[in-house]
Amino acid sequence: ASTLVVAEHNNKALSPGTLSAVTAAGKIGGEVHLLVLGSGSAPVAEAASKVAGVAKVLHGDHPAYAHFLAENTSRGVRASAEAHKYTHVMAISSMAGKNFIGRLGAEMDLAPVTDVIKVVDESTFERPMYAGNAIATVTASDPLKLLTVRPTAFDKAPATGGSAAVEAAPLPAEPETGLSKFVSESVSSSARPDLGAARVVVSGGRGMKNGENFAMLEALADKLGGAVGASRAAVDAGYVPNELQVGQTGKVVAPELYIAVGISGAIQHLSGMKDSKCIVAINKDKEAPIFTVADYGLVADLFTAVPELTKKL
């Protein structure tokens, strides 16, 4: 076996999820190569070469890859996958990974296995269905297996210690498909750690009552050096933007400490956080389902309990 992991990055730094994918790829057996497609992305290729467990880095730098458009990325990944005859191509189960893996599958007539949480052997994988309420064991039959893996299910490979050679990735004859055009982007600027990588996550739900009240959670998160998240109900109600959403349809997180505030614990939210090492729930409704998964449950009015907690930590 040999696996090509498609690195996720912002042209400056590798995403932490990429390190988890390297670990997952290692479990398949055989060499693990990292593909960095970007624009002005030399620092990423450099960082990729230092990741422990990576045997080679393929680096394709072209303006077509500046914004990770699915059409261009799919074509670019295919060029490397075919040139080097990998048995597996792996991406991260993020919105970026899911954006292109299906397209790549259709273009190569391959059926990806998404959201892999366990590598059983080189063609057998476990993945959740129904918001994590069922775990399916899947045997893939395609000659080239396309996978996306959940970063929370695999430890991060050490970011240093490796010394892989960096070579030029084979680029397609026409890297720019011209199908869609990047106009602009809005990246939430926060001094807090990334939701997917934070050691502590403080999430709010509909019980927060409005967006302004999230300031209370931000204060608690800052005290703990953590990130702020939200339930789908809070996003639906317009309290906070969608990128904070934790759940089946948002981000899947597994921090050391997850503090759920004013969150009832709908199935779809639990599937996004139930692998956290320690879950704390603060809710005034003692019947809320969140308490069935909480290591520590506090039945209290969040508007007094949260400031008190922030003060006493």
Binding site: R103, T114, M129, A131, V138, E243
Partner: protein, 254 residues
């Protein structure tokens, strides 16, 4: 402009699913089924395009068992003009897989010739999140997944889509035809009114046999076992914030 909307019948989002004792699949017998929530967003967006006089016809398509016709009726009651039902008895959560569905949808695209295909970003049964990008890939069309905002240019030749990303949003522009998958911020889907439900009963639904579509439907990824997730042990109730702080400190978490 003609819009094709793909809708899927799935276990209702509020149902807690159970794994069958034989561990081959989840139980679908006597379980409430509904339109996949993200397909509702896709359907709603199509209706808004028609209300804005940008779309002239909405065709809803569903791949699934005979009961999927109820899902199509819901789409018709929301505002679709006609339906296409690709009938199959294969389980749409694990046996009939995204690549096969995308190939079936391509046959409908060839027939209906839409300018825009709208669908949900993922179905909440298989949670694969693949069918939209696959259809775009098969057709060689541009794609915009996780759409939060859709604007059709007056020329009706181009769309601008604001899409959710891992770190915020991204705005893309693409020529039509294109495939756009809906995320939940795109809109708030309407409920079908009683008069519209009555009217929907008279709208046409064409049926096609999936097996006769000339598409290989066999699953490439064989589901060999389905189990419950490992249970999480119930924890302790703490009496006060002080108690909580003490516990977290004892565990070395803060």
């Amino acid at each position: 402009m003609r819009v094709l909307v793909a809708v899927k019948r799935v276990v209702d989002y509020a149902v807690k699913v159970r794994v069958r004792p034989d561990k081959t699949a989840v139980e679908l017998q006597n379980v409430k089924m509904s339109m996949n929530p993200f397909c509702e967003n896709a359907m709603e967006e199509a209706v808004r395009l028609k209300e804005a006089k940008l779309a002239t016809e909405i065709v809803a398509v569903s791949v699934g068992p005979k009961q999927a016709q109820e899902t199509l009726r819901t789409a018709l009651a929301m505002g679709a003009d006609r339906g296409v039902h690709i009938v199959t008895d294969m389980r749409a959560d694990q046996e009939l897989q995204p690549l096969a569905v995308a190939k079936l949808l391509r046959t409908v695209v060839d027939e209906v010739k839409p300018d825009l295909v709208l669908m949900g970003k993922q179905a909440i049964d298989g949670d694969n999140c693949q069918t939209g990008p696959m259809l775009a890939g098969l057709l060689g069309w541009p794609q915009a997944t996780f759409a939060a905002k859709l604007e059709v240019a007056d020329s009706k030749k181009e769309v601008t889509v604001e899409r959710e990303t891992d770190t915020g949003t991204q705005k893309l522009q693409m020529g039509l035809p294109a495939v756009v998958t809906a995320d939940l911020r795109l809109n708030a889907p309407r409920y079908a009114t009683l008069p519209n439900i009555m009217k929907a009963k008279k709208k046409p639904i064409a049926t096609r046999d999936a097996a006769a579509a000339g598409v290989d439907l066999a699953p490439r990824n064989k589901v060999t076992n389905v189990t419950d997730p490992p249970p999480r042990a119930a924890g302790a109730v703490v009496e006060s914030v002080d108690d909580l702080v003490a516990k977290l400190k004892a565990d070395g978490l803060v």
